[in-house]
Subunit: 238 residues, 2 copies
Amino acid sequence: MPALSSVQAIVFDVFGTVVDWRSSIIRDLSAFGAQRGITVDWTRFADDWRALYQPAMDEVRSGRRPWTILDVLHRESLVVLLGRHGIEGLAETDIHHLTRAWHRLDPWPDALPGLARLKTRYIIGPMSNGNIGLLTRMAKHAKLPWDVILGAETARAYKPLPESYIRNAALLNLEPAQVMLVAAHNSDLKAAQAAGLATAFVARPTEHGPGQTKDLVPSGDWDVFAVDFSDLAAKLGS
Amino acid sequence: MPALSSVQAIVFDVFGTVVDWRSSIIRDLSAFGAQRGITVDWTRFADDWRALYQPAMDEVRSGRRPWTILDVLHRESLVVLLGRHGIEGLAETDIHHLTRAWHRLDPWPDALPGLARLKTRYIIGPMSNGNIGLLTRMAKHAKLPWDVILGAETARAYKPLPESYIRNAALLNLEPAQVMLVAAHNSDLKAAQAAGLATAFVARPTEHGPGQTKDLVPSGDWDVFAVDFSDLAAKLGS
């Protein structure tokens, strides 16, 4: 386990850990539907959209498909789901607007105060499968005070591939052990730890809605366990 | 010339345009020399260091050398100059500390207020030949409120190669004409304009010291000419 005193940068999984993607997407889609008189189950639509996330990235991770950013994968999944839910005749500008719902996600209530504290002592940034443009616009929307935007696109590899963690640490002139990943997902932390990073689990027990059954508790030997970002900042001495 | 109303991101040359590298390097080296009792002409040392900047990048631009980040080039040039100035016996930690002087540059006095205004309306970031780690640490040192860190390392190409501008625009999901480069150097703006970017010249008539003879005035048909970053913010409606 890395010595925490050597950590210089704290990087974050974003979807689910920093922002409440599910409530935000449901709200965004529902507003669009209300405006256009489209009545479908937007909660189910949001969950269906997220369910296509890992399979789409798997095509790229496996090498079956060349490097493709998440905005493109989100759009392709959206088009599939519009058909499946019987929504027809949307204009190109509508599809663009809906794809960009992933740029307009709101933070969990504790995220901003915690990040402000961590920023005084560490380099902070996303280490997300979102692309740079997505993460940059989300940060402006949600007022996330990142020092740097890192993720799959800067590594040209999707998490949890080891190079996604190792290359991003190197982009900060850091060894993996000098970087801590914060995530609400045990699988992400497991891969980061295997790549040599320090790890912190923050519980987000309603990320997937009221009936969530996974990632309720830490399932590995992570360096830090925090109930929210304020607790995380305190445990990291900031 | 791109229509300015389409500009969504303002990106900046950094060394000389945002930060006063020369005064900062002289100050940093002089402090080190005073502490160690090393007496050399640190102003000349700083100018000599910067003089090795373009030749070092030319090796990479030309393809004679594989991709190499600026921190490595800075360090190599430093080692050459230490020998040339008769400074011997420095420890590895000293050489590391001195190389990182480029991470500790101070902003021109008008930079922070101007950037704060521009940030309310545009995505702002560096588009610098500095590497990500350098630019991130400089931003923390100088309190530069970047939304994103872009530059040679995100494009894997040094300015003024066209791909350095075009790839970084694409990383923001933008066309070149939706991005404006701000620089105190006409040559940088010329290359950016040729790549399709909007351009703004900000005069920094003492970047190279009191006897500066170049880049005192705009020499091309740039979209905006500003005397400082406050003027720039006003001219860009923010």
